[in-house]
């Protein structure tokens, strides 16, 4: 006979949650009995109903989907009727009250995309890249009433590569999170797990990102803006200047490795340097058929992929060809 499967109720909403759920479903030691996710949203001008991808995935596997408006007493009663060993929570999007976390026999486990106690809160992955961190990680905690304050069950470091974006890092983190859950959940159910308290004195916090948080500040250095573009991928936007006319664009991909001698394109030739210094920060210009934008500290950043409002993402070079007014430097 085989060991009993671990009965899991999965809580999650985002892409991070989707990747973790996908791998949990593949492990036949786990039985995902229900999925709790956020309510469907009306999106766009046509008000189309869009349900979380997690919901679509659960429905394909014939798993009960719960989308509570509120985590109230009625919902608590409903959850209590499900025979559950563990809740697994991965970016659900709402604080879950203690009385609900305590329902499953073996408690609730959260997979968080940082090396806790660093980067608690809603946007750990983005913030780590924006801050130029070279490593981050995944932490599994046993959830308590606080926000990401529970005892640590397992933690794993992941390197942030220079070309990682929010998308690629999220992919890596969610996969390793799922692998860690494969190892940790059976040990937890057997009651043989050791946990460690977080050192709250070392805690840092990240916020829920709203659309205004994606705006680029052109007064920052090229490297800082580059990290911002990577971390907020694909949402970083800003108003760029062409011939003193402003235009709102999204920057999808940038590069600080244009010229190692110039260091983020800080030209040596005085005429060019002066010309760039005279532009306000955020001005686009062309140089050697590449698209650049002026930043703080008299630096420039190459823009490799850019998107105008309502248009597709195009390369910097194509953008240059389409915009006659952009100054070309020599």
């Amino acid at each position: 006979m085989r060991k009993k499967r671990i009965k899991i109720v999965f809580w999650g909403t985002s892409k991070f949650a989707e990747n973790i759920l996908e791998l949990l479903l593949k492990n036949d030691s786990f039985d995902v009995v229900a999925v709790v996710t956020r309510t469907d949203k009306l999106v766009g001008r046509k008000k189309e109903i869009v349900s979380p991808i997690v919901k679509q995935m659960a429905e394909k596997s014939n798993i009960t989907v719960l989308q509570p408006e509120k985590l109230d007493n009625d919902f608590e009663t409903k959850l209590k009727k499900i025979n559950t060993d563990i809740f697994v929570v991965a970016s659900y999007g709402k604080i879950i009250p203690k009385n609900i976390l305590d329902i499953p026999r073996h408690g609730s486990v959260n997979a968080h995309g940082s090396l806790l106690p660093k980067y608690r809160g809603a946007s750990p992955i983005q913030t780590a890249i924006v801050n130029g961190e070279e490593k981050t990680g995944i932490t599994l905690i046993l959830m308590d009433a606080g926000m990401d304050t529970g005892d640590i069950l397992k933690q794993q470091e992941i390197e942030i590569y220079a070309d990682d974006t929010y998308k690629t890092l999220l992919e890596k983190l969610s996969k390793s999170g799922a692998k860690m859950l494969n190892d940790v959940l059976p040990v937890l159910v057997d009651g043989k797990i050791k946990s460690a308290k977080q050192d709250s004195a070392k805690a840092t916090y990240t916020k829920i990102l709203r659309s205004m948080d994606y705006e680029i500040d052109w007064n920052k250095s090229a490297k800082e803006i580059h990290n911002f573009v990577r971390g907020m991928y694909p949402n970083a936007y800003g108003t760029v200047w062409i011939n003193n006319k402003g235009m709102r664009v999204k920057v999808a991909l940038s590069s600080v490795e244009y010229d190692k001698n110039f260091k983020f394109f800080r030209p040596r030739r005085t005429s060019l340097k002066l010309a760039i210094l005279n532009f306000q920060n955020g001005t686009l210009f062309g140089y050697e058929k590449k698209l650049f934008v002026t930043c703080g500290k008299a630096e420039s950043l190459e823009i490799k992929k850019i998107q105008m409002a309502g248009k597709n993402v195009i390369s910097g070079k194509d953008f240059l060809n389409g915009q006659r007014d952009i100054k070309h430097m020599k």
Binding site: M1, A34, T64
Partner: protein, 155 residues
């Protein structure tokens, strides 16, 4: 020489044969079979019980390891079974990925010989009682799908 045992998988015909009693339980072959059954069961970490017919030996012998004591049951007998029954999900190493709700007596008394030739009697409940009955069924050529009950409603 030790050979690695393979667990018979998804072969109902083979697994539906009835096993014969072990005659000389202390001979070397039986002892080796027991050791190797524990090894085979532990591959993949999910095993908690394995019967000899599952590795192609039609002998009345099974092993159980719930993480504590390792149990060997040779020529076992279910002496008593409670009237009270319980329904739980079961999986079988011979049918990977299949999980069925099975109704069985909640408590039993079983007797058997251990690997040293000593007769013992044991009271069991919970998962241990279930595992003994599941493995005992293998010796009779009975499989867990024969005892499946309608899925317990999830919600």
């Amino acid at each position: 020489m030790k050979k690695k045992l393979d667990i018979i998988k998804n072969d109902e015909k083979k697994l539906r044969q009835k096993s014969r009693p072990v005659l000389d339980l202390r001979d070397r072959e039986t002892q080796e079979l027991i050791d190797q059954m524990f090894v085979a069961m532990r591959c993949g970490k999910e095993g908690i019980g394995l019967a000899a017919p599952q590795v192609g030996e039609l002998l009345r012998l099974f092993v159980i390891d719930l993480g504590g004591k390792k149990h060997v049951f040779i020529n076992p007998k279910i002496e008593k079974a409670s009237e009270k029954e319980s329904v739980e999900e079961e999986g079988c190493l011979s049918f990977p990925g299949v999980f069925l709700s099975v109704k069985r007596p909640a408590k039993i008394v079983a007797s058997a010989w251990d690997r040293y030739g000593k007769k013992f009697k044991i009271k069991a409940d919970g998962i241990f009682a279930r595992a003994i009955q599941h493995e005992y069924d293998h010796l009779e050529g009975v499989l867990f799908m024969d005892k499946e009950v309608a899925e317990i409603k999830k919600l």
